[in-house]
């Protein structure tokens, strides 16, 4: 559907987008995730036609769109700032795009009405943007770009201004709409939870390049680099050397003497330095009840980060390594089985260990 081929865009000395290639498939909900300033907005603006790539091509359905001016591209963008027209009513804003197509008045009215009903803007048609709440404005901006039935809808941090609850509702609304209308959505966000929740596929960007493009669970469970592992969620990253690498799996020995068993990993060769990534929630933490087990790791709780549903425990192992482990708070806080300075035992399943070669 959309294809970026070695696209670069430079502003002076900074490369906002750097030789980036990407395919986005029809009907897909694609999320672009990355730290501030990594070039997400620039990428969307090139697709919408507000910036011209310095190098490379952008293809839409197989044809180069370089020569198509922005007002003729079948791509609509929902702006980060909403960019509602202050001198038009809500209905006027939503109808604006359809008027440009020169559609008959009755059809415009019909489609605007349907879109307002869909986004629950029913009674607000005659209001002006400055008479709306933030969430309502956001829905108007969404309606305005959706009503055109664009082949590709670009959403630039559409929910940055919303509170958590409204944001969650809107995320579901978006997913529902996308599934129902069968459109292709590209959403930009720096909220990784949001990206995981709504997207079919996620592209993680850094310094103008795509670092990893994969399904949400792959990005989370099988990050392809330390950078991605660290950027997405909470992680324990431990440096070590590969001592065994064969079809049965990989064994990594960390400096502190801990041995990590993992499933077979591409590119891990014996003797090389690698990094082990372990998600805190995949580490089981327990009080020491029975005698010492050889394969378990013992340590002392340094710090507890209470987050309501889960608590994150910082544990210093007996060999000096500090690891984070998360546990669901199934009991009330006062009834927690261990607190600071208590001795605990950590354990994890072998498939929770990801070995990263870069």
């Amino acid at each position: 559907m959309v294809r970026f081929e070695d696209v670069s865009k430079r502003f002076g000395a900074t490369a906002a987008v750097d030789r980036l290639s990407l395919d986005i498939f029809p009907g897909e909900f694609f999320a672009l995730l990355g730290p501030s300033g990594c070039g997400k907005t620039t990428l969307l603006r090139m697709l919408a036609g507000f910036e011209t790539p310095d190098e490379g091509r952008i293809l839409l359905d197989g044809s180069d769109i370089a020569a198509v001016p922005p007002h003729r591209r079948p791509v609509n963008m929902m702006f980060q700032s909403y960019a509602l027209f202050p001198h038009l009513t809500v209905a006027g804003n939503i109808a604006f795009g359809l008027r440009q197509e020169g559609l008959p008045k009755t059809e415009i009215a019909e489609r605007v009405g349907a879109m307002m009903a869909l986004l629950q803007l029913g009674r607000l048609g005659e209001r002006r943007p400055d008479q709306l709440s933030g969430g309502q404005r956001q829905r108007v901006a969404l309606a305005r770009s959706l009503v055109k039935r664009p082949r590709v809808l670009l959403l630039d941090e559409p929910m940055a201004a919303l509170d958590r609850k409204l944001r969650e509702e809107t995320q579901f609304e978006l997913m529902d709409l996308q599934a129902r209308l069968g459109l292709t959505f590209v959403i930009v966000t720096h909220d990784q939870e949001e990206a995981m929740k709504v997207a079919d596929r996620i592209g993680v960007m850094n310094h103008g390049r795509l670092v990893q493009v994969a399904l949400p669970e792959e990005i989370y469970e099988k990050p392809n680099s330390r950078w991605v592992a660290d950027f997405i969620g909470d992680v324990n990253l431990i440096e070590g050397r590969v001592t065994v690498a064969d079809a049965d799996g990989v064994v990594v020995e960390a400096a502190e003497g801990i041995r990590f068993q993992a499933d077979a990993t591409d590119g891990a060769k014996t003797g090389e330095t690698v990094w082990v990534a372990l998600r805190p929630e995949k580490i089981a933490i327990a009080s020491i009840t029975d005698g010492k087990r050889a394969d378990a790791l013992y340590g002392e709780v340094l710090e507890i980060g209470y987050r309501g549903d889960v608590s994150v425990y910082k544990v210093r192992l007996d060999n000096g390594l500090v690891m984070k482990a998360a546990a669901a708070n199934t009991m009330r806080r006062v009834a927690q089985p261990f607190g600071c300075n208590d001795r605990v035992v950590l354990s994890w399943a072998r498939d929770a260990v990801a070995v990263l070669t870069r």
């Binding site: 007002h71 609509n76 960019a83 027209f85 202050p86 770009s145």
Partner: protein, 267 residues
Amino acid sequence: MQGRLTRVNLAALAIGLAFLYLPIAILVIYSFNDSRLVGVWGGWSLRWYRDLLGNQAMLDAAWASLRVAVLSASIATVLGTLAALALVRAGRFAGRTAFVAMIYAPLVMPEVITGLSLLLLFVAINIDRGFWTVVIAHATLTLCFVTVVVQARLLDFDRSLEEAATDLGCPPWRVFMTITLPLIAPAVVAAWMLAFTLSLDDLVIASFTSGPGATTLPIRIYSEVRLGVKPEINAVCTIMIAVVASVLIVASLLSKLTVASRTQRSA
């Protein structure tokens, strides 16, 4: 510097205002004076306004002034708005600094010089001085004021609105007509009104560039006053003051309105 309105402040304010407005107040009051002699109060009357209606030369001059003001303000508004767009939108083009300086120069140029140079120009290209030369001269005079006013509005114009319109399938010229122009309209109207009043009461440039058959009101008044102040003149001036004051009030209300709606929107 937050102070209260003490007696001293009040007195200073009164003296300042009196200094500015006492002459005007006297003029207005005497325009309603029944007596022919300035300085002798003969009771309230509208007779000078009635006499004015019979003074064809004065009425012609007023009509000419009005047409000059409307035409020159319109020309200046169109050109000045375009200049403002170029200054704000075109980014850094070759000769931009020179362009800016040239636009703003008439703001500080003594009117006598502007008038004289225009006169020389008209003589050099051999145009008969008359109605249109005054219009052109006034458009030149007021253009820079229009640019200043419109530019201020354009500078804090949210470009993403235009991008959004483009994105929704609107070609560039229509974006200007349906989005940009309506949003800067209050500034454009205020600029027109400013140009209108500037043209209406200009004497210096008009006397350099007008010719026979194109006497504007200020020129007429000036020439009549040289033969002695007639109460009729007071009446004309009072009407002019009323027109200019109301136009300026509307203009300032308009710019207040845009400021208010802008702050409301950003809140």
